[in-house]
Symmetry: C3
Subunit: 121 residues, 3 copies
Amino acid sequence: MPHLHMEYTANLPELNADVALMRLNNALVASGQFGAEFDIKARAVKVETFRVGTALGERAFVHVKLALLSGRSPEIKKQLSESLLAVVQDVCEWPAGVEVQLCVEILDIDRESYTKTAIGH
Amino acid sequence: MPHLHMEYTANLPELNADVALMRLNNALVASGQFGAEFDIKARAVKVETFRVGTALGERAFVHVKLALLSGRSPEIKKQLSESLLAVVQDVCEWPAGVEVQLCVEILDIDRESYTKTAIGH
Amino acid sequence: MPHLHMEYTANLPELNADVALMRLNNALVASGQFGAEFDIKARAVKVETFRVGTALGERAFVHVKLALLSGRSPEIKKQLSESLLAVVQDVCEWPAGVEVQLCVEILDIDRESYTKTAIGH
């Protein structure tokens, strides 16, 4: 906890996913909501097969999901979502002529049944 | 919103994921539940490593997840699920001798903490 | 139902995802919680782009998500989570010098709107 997922469509060649994850993780650390930077587990997946809507025209999206152990307030969740969206907006030059949608979603992880362990730490 | 994910196992060579996404998006537009076709963001992922159950025998699955901003009624969700399942059933010739499971799941997106923006729109 | 997802970072060369899925499915069958082995649909995804925290140093993770039709008790969910974590811990030799985090998360599938069908069964 937390787990961050970033999906991005393959028609965003300027998006460096490694850099994006580092900046997103930095934003999470800076939020002060997480005890240990070590706990933040982020991954990015490039989506090769996608479709935005039904009309023609070049479209793209970046969708970030942040999953948190249940119990945080709506205000905190909203703040985290806005912080991550600000990072995504700023993460690259967006291609001209492409309609790009950026979204951030916050999910709860069921705290009672979440189990974890660390090896070699 | 909405976000549609389609996972399909790699042993379904007749499944054209681009066509499937277009038809699924068309079904969502036709449902009348969404204000703008532009909002529908769909992606498909071919699953190369999978296991259905524990017995031997060729098995496959297609799993569609539709994530909606929270607040829709159970009846609407059920209707959307059934519409998408009907699309999936009809999307290709299913291979003989393979047990194929098709599933549609509807998820809520926490409305309060969801943030988004559009670039170049 | 149930659906099992396993994500694992690409720096875990000893992790055989096929073997892991078979063992995880066997653990689910052995739990006695599921009527038919056929219903268990598991997949694994190797994550090539990831970032754990913000510090330097080699880090890795395995994240298993088990999605169940809503209605099971917290105790059952916790037991399933612990069973799966025990399988993951034992699934390979973990690399020396790498901090590996293993996590298991249990999710509810909205029962009312879940639809499925089987072909060729």
